[in-house]
Assembly symmetry: C2
Homo-oligomer: 161 residues x 2
Amino acid sequence: MKEIEVRPLSRAAFAPFGEVIEMEGADNFPINAGRCIRFHDLATIETAGEHARPMISLFRAEPCRLPLTLDMVERHPLGSQAFIPLSDRPFLVIVAGETENGPAEPLAFQTRPGQGINIARNVWHGVLTPLDARSDFAVVDRGGDGVNLEVHVYDKPFLVR
Amino acid sequence: MKEIEVRPLSRAAFAPFGEVIEMEGADNFPINAGRCIRFHDLATIETAGEHARPMISLFRAEPCRLPLTLDMVERHPLGSQAFIPLSDRPFLVIVAGETENGPAEPLAFQTRPGQGINIARNVWHGVLTPLDARSDFAVVDRGGDGVNLEVHVYDKPFLVR
């Protein structure tokens, strides 16, 4: 199996796919008489299509172990999807660019504590993949009418390690 | 000083002011082949006015100690504001109803682990008030043009305990 090496998540590396939601390096300013710092406007929420609206949900996901076999990615043609971890545990972020023949080879990133992500609309990505233990996330994505899911199964699976 | 007693946060008690964002009692269903549970659509995001859009930010807030003196509340006429704690530490949620003469006497709620809140548009509330230690929050509120802040100073302060 072709191997995909997990690399650390960073704003620069993730920029083609969306945003890293983290305090480090973010525009920020004090509010509430200096008792709070606001790290401001860290993600572009996209909600397209009929009756579209942003939604807040909570996800509780079972952990995966590396190495893992990846044979599919999905994307949401009508909206972005933000995942903000409610713990300090890492999760894997698997994304893929777009080619004429569908998704490119996947890239895999591992978060460090304090990093969430916003996957831009129509970007191919793997499902939510916490490491170490069952983990909870705040999720901001799109509600509305229309088909907002496309799935792609790769001809040959990848080994993410 | 008039005393306001802190009570536990619950969906029922908070319903007039917005939503409690928590897994307990929430509509939920499995996704990702059963590896994740989605607690679905837990808050009503409101964004009114010119060029309005929802925003994701992170807040880092200094802690308060009880009892605390409360002399002001604020509200956002153009948008809701959701606070989801990124730790298990409690925070205070201070809100007030509306009377003919401005905000009513405040109510104070204390969260338990796993509880966030969404304060509805135009609801009077206190500033973000973590207890115990400096705490981080994911915040979903409104960006756009127009004046989205009103502040009210009470004639006499309250003692929240």
